[in-house]
């Protein structure tokens, strides 16, 4: 990479981070300072937190579009140095889309299974009757997650347009893929920190609040970011990443309806520890994908 190309990539990234963090963190900190509640007394997200997360998730897309306007990179929909919005299903690329919608089901189900194996006492065959208004809902929940994830993917698309569609290609140019995945994942995780501070994902009642939550979020963003980057690079589009992100956010697992949180004991009752365990299958998938990706890249170089 030439010095000019390097300087341009750094400049573009700095503008992107400036715009994205200013927009989203501006909103998040305004919310914190306003004193409004992100979670109610029973640990559920308040209605206003929904709109905060929705608007926040659209900020990376706004960041990417504004940055492209400032740097005069243009707003091409597909091809190289574009918004990566094109959809190409040829050459078996449809498999990436299929993987994108099914992987979250696989890793969340395995994550729930792992929780049950490590803490068998938490398995409660009647718990789903308490959480689901209709028992049958538990069994179609993954399908609902996939359908609503695919159709309501606009917010996830907002994030992916920024992080995978704009940040990662620049990062890969600057640092190479392995380092880019780690640095990009950490930055993506840091972006979530104000939400983590407010209680997103972990609540506020855990050991080492909020720093343990910050670390866990960065961990998730690195491992999930690796899979999302792989899907984006291989398919040439941000759509598979957006679909996987959206479906993943719905936590499409049947087994979670059989885990009674009140019966979880020991270290696993800590929300951050439970979070790490839940994402161990994703970590394994992520490492596996990185190894396969590296092997393919090495073969291509030879």
């Amino acid at each position: 990479m030439t010095d000019t190309g390097r300087k341009n990539a750094i400049r573009s990234l700095l503008i992107y981070f400036g715009v994205t963090f200013a927009l989203s963190w501006g909103m998040f900190f305004a919310f914190i300072l306003s004193g409004r509640e992100f979670m109610d007394s029973s640990g559920n997200y308040t209605r206003i937190s929904d709109i905060l997360c929705t608007m926040g998730m659209l900020c990376p897309a706004a960041g990417a579009i504004i940055t492209r306007y400032i740097t005069k990179e243009g707003h091409k929909l597909s091809a190289e140095n574009s918004l990566m919005l094109g959809i190409d299903l040829k050459n078996k690329k449809y498999l990436f889309y299929l993987a994108a919608v099914l992987l979250p089901w696989v890793y969340t189900e395995l994550g729930s299974l792992l929780k049950i194996i490590l803490n068998p006492g938490c398995f409660d065959s009647q718990y789903f009757r308490e959480v689901a208004s209709d028992e049958r809902l538990a069994y179609i929940f993954p399908l609902m997650g996939i359908v609503s994830g695919v159709f309501f993917s606009i917010c996830a698309l907002g994030e992916e347009l920024g992080w995978r569609g704009y940040m990662m290609p620049q990062m890969i140019k600057l640092f190479g893929t392995p380092k880019a995945i780690i640095i990009g994942g950490i930055i993506w995780g840091v972006w979530h920190w104000p939400l983590t501070y407010m209680g997103h994902n972990f609540g506020t009642d855990y050991k080492g609040y909020p720093f343990a939550g910050f670390a866990a979020m960065a961990f998730l963003c690195i491992i999930e970011g690796a899979v999302l980057t792989f899907l984006t690079v291989k398919s040439g589009s941000v759509w598979p990443a957006a679909l996987m992100h959206a479906v993943g956010n719905t936590i499409p697992s049947i087994l979670q309806f059989f885990i009674n949180p009140e019966k979880v004991t020991g270290v696993m009752s800590d929300s951050v520890v439970s979070f790490y365990i839940h994402f161990i299958p994703l970590l394994i998938i992520s490492v596996g994908i990185c190894i396969i990706w590296k092997n393919f890249s090495d073969k291509a170089k030879q």
Partner: protein
């Protein structure tokens, strides 16, 4: 393909439409915070909720009506007026690329309206009171995918007519069908059992919907599958109907 989609994007003045919708979304957000909802047990000032709940509902109607009522006609009529259809046939594109571009454009429009509808429902809910209007918007949210599926099915029915017959003939067929439906409604009003309509109550419907959550969610899962299947079959049908029309355009 990208070029054909962009052409349709320009033809329907989508940039202006997007700016207007963006401005309306910001206005709706501002209004929602200026007019907060009231709890059932709190003060009885329902001004905010009564006034604002109609906006997501109107958007839901527009989301079904606008793509099918206006857009299909606009994108096909634009091509006919400028002889673009004949021009694209002369380009080194796949045989069905032109038809596919229309289907993809309509699909993207349905997705965009559905996404906007979801955002408007979230905006409404963020500062809503705990009352029937909030329940109604929650129900609307669970129906968004079903509405989008209906919109896609209607587009799947209209597109073969407009692409194959042209705007003039297709509009006539559409008008005839609409008139038949209208006459049937009138006939029902004169001769049907109107007492059946008397029992319709929106809020009762909301209460009943809560008891049928599983059926609604099942419909939410199955309706997109059905809609996509109909849409795909419609595309195949349009391709088949237009297979031998190439010579007409080159003449």
């Amino acid at each position: 393909m990208g070029g054909l989609l962009y052409k349709d994007f320009v033809a329907v003045k989508a940039k202006k439409v997007m700016l207007v919708l963006f401005a309306l979304t910001l206005l709706f957000l501002a209004l929602r915070f200026m007019l907060p909802g009231s709890e059932l047990s709190g003060s009885n000032d329902f001004t905010g909720d009564m006034f604002l709940w109609q906006m997501p509902c109107l958007l839901a109607v527009a989301g079904i009506g606008f793509p099918n009522g206006i857009l299909i006609k606009a994108i096909v009529a634009g091509d006919e007026n400028n002889k673009i259809k004949a021009f694209t046939k002369s380009l080194p594109l796949g045989k069905n690329t032109y038809i596919a571009s229309k289907y993809i454009f309509m699909g993207i429009t349905c997705y965009a309206f559905m996404s906007l509808e979801m955002i408007w429902c979230i905006i409404y809910s963020c500062n809503a009171g705990d009352n029937s209007f909030y329940d109604l918007i929650q129900l609307l949210m669970s129906f968004i995918i079903i509405f989008a599926s209906v919109s896609l099915v209607v587009a799947g029915i209209e597109l073969p007519f407009f692409i194959t017959l042209g705007v003039k003939k297709a509009s006539t067929v559409k008008a005839v069908i609409m008139e038949i439906v209208f006459l049937l409604v009138i006939a029902f009003m004169f001769f049907g059992d109107l007492d059946k309509l008397g029992g319709i109550d929106l809020f009762n419907f909301v209460m009943n919907a809560k008891e049928h959550e599983f059926e609604i969610d099942l419909a939410m899962v199955l309706s997109p599958v059905f809609a996509v299947l109909v849409y795909y079959l419609s595309y195949k049908l349009t391709c088949a109907l237009n297979r031998n029309r190439e010579a007409d355009f080159n003449d």
